[in-house]
């Protein structure tokens, strides 16, 4: 695979963006930690949160400072070699905000000495990265109507881009860009088109008004095309699809937007007329490679619906799609990548058993692409199903609007002792796939499922964790276990790696703490 712009697609000494680079590889050129010495990793420091909210932050390390977010909306600046705090910035929230699934925040963005954070009360805040003093604050939307910002912003050129959560609260989603210096809105893309806009015809009646289409994970950016890519969430109400006849664009799609104007260049919908809550909220992984003898700009995507896709990211053309976990909802994908649905797999009053379950074959936790192995790595939930229920539900502002429910043996997020379910009800696995065919090369099977993201390095070390409470290193070439430590909490974030004064560190949020590891000094 020939790689163009590979250097910019990887992370180096600093970890400067949520996904490690604009191409979102979650891959680092650092190579001090190797399959040979990973056994000599040791704990260097722990930073403990005071909040008991779910800790989903991915920290950044820039110019010798680590920035992380403590839920709900506090930024902490600390020394990445010792964990000692420099300062904290606490955003005062109203007593009630409207995140669907916990008062979480996944991280900040940084550029030109400024830090940016979206908040649960729909504000975008800019601070000095040195002092933590607020520079500006902009209201992005109306939180009382079910809107919230939970993901790390994406900075593209002079713009800070964020999108809104709220897919279970009858919102109408959008992605908006703000001038990084002033906070002035530059453009806004509505993920659910209104009457008169192309795509509105895919929503029966007035259903577009509360059609969901939320954004809760950071997108990617290709400077060569000046396109920014975002995965869009489920249509609403989640499990009562009869009230929203049609494909429901642009729910469950990836959209390619002109970074300067926010204009839609193309879209690809993974799950038209979604009946299961399978948000396309995954990381758009951008690679350049040979496709049938022709060099193309590609996008690799393991979707919550259980299929792995290869798309042309300049045009949105579907090139390849194949299931990567057990699925029973689609007979196949057609030549354009549109699923041919299996009959009778949608939700029902009495419940319909469908694979994958509601959290999907994978979800928001980061995959990784390594230019060394040329494998696409992901955390999969396999042999996993849910019973999907449907019922009528009227829309009411600021209230839950899901039109149904789900039962699964495997809890969606909660960590519990693993003796309360049948071992046959699903398992987690780290998998390496051939990037072009989606074929499984190896897997590292786990007893429980995992919400931890992945990180790979140039020295073929893969780091991840899981819901069991472990954090571990695998050999990226063959999936063999190199090192592990029990941290005791749920891993629901992505590890990062960085280097300070020639020493490589690995950090990950687990439970309610940030843990940082490096090789024993004698082992380097």
């Amino acid at each position: 695979m020939a790689l163009c712009g590979a250097a910019a697609a990887q992370s180096g000494a600093d970890w400067t963006t949520y996904h490690g680079s604009h191409a979102s590889w979650h891959h680092s050129t650092l190579n001090q930690i190797t399959p040979g010495n990973a056994k000599d990793l040791e704990l260097k420091w722990v930073w403990q949160a005071q909040s008991l909210e779910k800790f989903e932050t991915t920290p950044l390390v820039v110019n010798g400072v680590m920035y992380l977010t403590e839920p709900p909306n506090t930024i902490v600046a600390l020394d990445p070699t010792t964990g000692r705090e420099y300062w904290t910035y606490q955003h005062a929230l109203p007593d009630v905000t409207y995140p669907c699934c916990g008062k979480v925040n996944r991280g900040v963005a940084i550029a030109d000495g400024m830090l940016y954070m979206g908040t649960l009360d729909m504000k975008l805040i800019a601070l000095s990265a040195t002092t933590g003093q607020k520079r500006w604050e902009t209201v992005v939307g109306e939180f009382r109507k079910g809107y919230a910002l939970t993901h790390a912003p994406l900075i593209v050129n002079n713009l800070v881009i964020v999108g809104t959560a709220g897919g279970e609260l009858g919102i109408r989603g959008f992605i908006a860009a703000y001038d990084a210096k002033t906070g002035k809105e530059a453009w806004r893309f509505k993920t659910i088109p209104e009457p008169g806009e192309p795509g509105n015809e895919t929503w029966g009646g007035d259903s577009w008004k509360h059609g969901g289409g939320s954004i809760w994970l950071t997108g990617s950016y290709d400077p060569s095309l000046n396109l920014t890519y975002w995965g869009i969430g489920n249509p609403g109400p989640d499990w009562n699809p009869t009230v929203r006849p049609g494909d429901n664009l642009y729910s469950d799609s990836v959209v390619a937007l002109d970074a300067a104007t926010g204009k839609l260049k193309w879209h690809f919908q993974f799950t038209p007329h979604d009946e299961w809550d399978w948000d396309a909220v995954q990381t758009p992984v951008l690679v350049d490679g040979d496709w049938k003898g022709k060099s193309r700009k590609l996008m690799l995507w393991a979707n919550r619906n259980g299929f792995y896709y290869v798309l042309d990211r300049a045009t949105g053309e579907f090139l390849h799609g194949v299931p990567f976990v057990k699925q029973t909802w689609a007979e196949r994908l057609d030549a354009k990548g549109r699923p041919v649905k299996s009959p009778g797999r949608g939700p029902s009053a009495k419940g319909t058993l469908t694979f994958p379950g509601v959290q999907g074959g994978t979800n928001w936790f980061a995959p990784s692409y390594s230019p060394v192995t040329k494998y696409f790595y992901l955390s999969a939930w396999d042999d996993y199903s849910s019973l999907y229920f449907s019922w009528d539900q009227p829309y009411e502002q600021g209230k839950w609007y899901a039109g149904g429910g789900v039962k699964s043996d495997v809890p969606s997020t909660r960590r519990e002792r693993l003796n309360r379910r049948d071992p046959a009800s699903g398992y987690g696995a780290i998998r390496a796939l051939r990037w072009d065919t989606g074929e499984k090369v190896w897997e590292y099977k786990m007893t429980d499922v995992s919400e931890s993201g992945l990180l790979t390095t140039a020295s073929n070390v893969l780091f991840s964790g899981n819901r069991e409470g472990h954090f571990f290193a695998l050999n990226a070439a063959d999936g063999s276990l190199l090192w592990r430590i029990y941290l005791g909490g749920q891993g629901a974030a992505s590890p990062i790696t960085y280097s300070v004064d020639g020493k490589q560190y690995v950090s990950v949020a687990n439970g309610h703490s940030m843990f940082t590891f490096a090789l024993r000094d004698s082992a380097r």
Binding site: S51, L52, E53, K54, D95, V96, Y98, P99, C100, C101, G102, K103, R144, E168, D238, W239, V358, S386, L387, F389, W391, Q393, P394, G398, K399, W400, A402, G404, G405, V406, K407, S408, P411, S412, T413, R414, R417, L418, N419, R420, R421, D422, P423, K445, M446, T447, D448, N466, E468, G469, H470, R484, H512
Partner: protein
């Protein structure tokens, strides 16, 4: 929050939202309130109609996670047991519905005070009733002793009061007559073979990729490295013997009456 005096007359939380400080506005004047510092806030909305309204709100706002029947499912816990991990009182449940539970997927809901109380009333109505009135609980207790039920139920088998809270009368009847018909996964039998051939048996308490935590048949708590096992499995086998044919109809009614009396809560 300290227990504060709560009015019994026409109480309403006027805010749609319960704030951290529980800012209340009372429909009657503060000076007119009875002054009992330990009185807990009781639910002013618990008529049958309130429970019906609460059921409707529950279905639209709570059932996606807690299940249409309240028995849990998509991340939400089972709310039909009359005992709750976080909500130690109706008062606490009122606050939780409004504010959520930190660190869990349970969000706060923007319901009016009346709607919130109605949901609380409905959830409490899901708990199994204290008893059906059928059977002699005292005699049932004697039968439990005579049949040596506590030899296991005071040790590894489910605590009888917990079992009674988690099951309806018909489910309890089935557990006594056909214990194998439905065994909760946490009571499945675990069996592992160590390198060298030694077989261990017990109940699986926990498990991860590398180890399994069991209570063995001698009642010891053990962690076993999966690397030491050549094989292992858990099966929905129950260690409970069937009492079909050993208890007559009256005996069974009396035992069930005793079990129901252990539930506590509503009389």
């Amino acid at each position: 929050m300290r227990n504060v005096t709560r009015p019994r007359c026409g109480l309403l939380y006027t805010s749609a939202i319960v704030t951290k400080s529980l800012l209340l506005m009372f429909a009657c004047a503060l000076s007119a309130m009875p002054q009992h510092s330990s009185v807990k806030l009781s639910n002013p909305f618990q008529t049958p109609q309130d429970r019906l309204e609460g059921a409707a709100t529950f279905r639209s706002q709570c059932a996606s996670c807690h299940g249409a029947d309240g028995k849990g499912g998509h991340g939400g816990s089972d709310l039909t047991r009359g005992q709750f991990k976080y909500a130690v009182s109706e008062d606490a449940m009122f606050r939780i519905v409004g504010s959520g539970i930190p660190g869990t997927a349970m969000p706060g809901f923007a319901l009016s005070g009346q709607q919130t109380w109605q949901v609380v009333a409905y959830i409490y109505s899901l708990a199994p009733a204290h008893g059906s009135g059928v059977g002699d609980a005292k005699r049932g207790e004697q039968l439990v002793t005579v049949n040596q039920c506590m030899r296991c139920h005071a040790a590894d088998a489910p605590d009888l009061a917990v079992a009674a809270r988690h099951r309806s009368r018909s489910e309890l009847r089935q557990s006594i007559l056909e214990p194998a018909a439905s065994v909760a996964p946490e009571y499945w039998s675990w069996r592992g073979t160590l390198r060298g051939g030694k077989v261990l048996e017990g109940r699986r308490l926990n498990e991860d990729t590398f180890s399994v935590q069991v209570m063995d048949r001698e009642g010891r708590l053990r962690t076993i490295d999966k690397g030491e096992l050549t094989s292992s499995n858990v099966e929905p086998r129950s260690a409970m013997p069937s009492f079909a044919g050993k208890l007559n109809v009256k005996d069974l009614d009396d035992v069930l009456a005793y079990l129901e009396s252990l539930r506590g809560g509503k009389q």
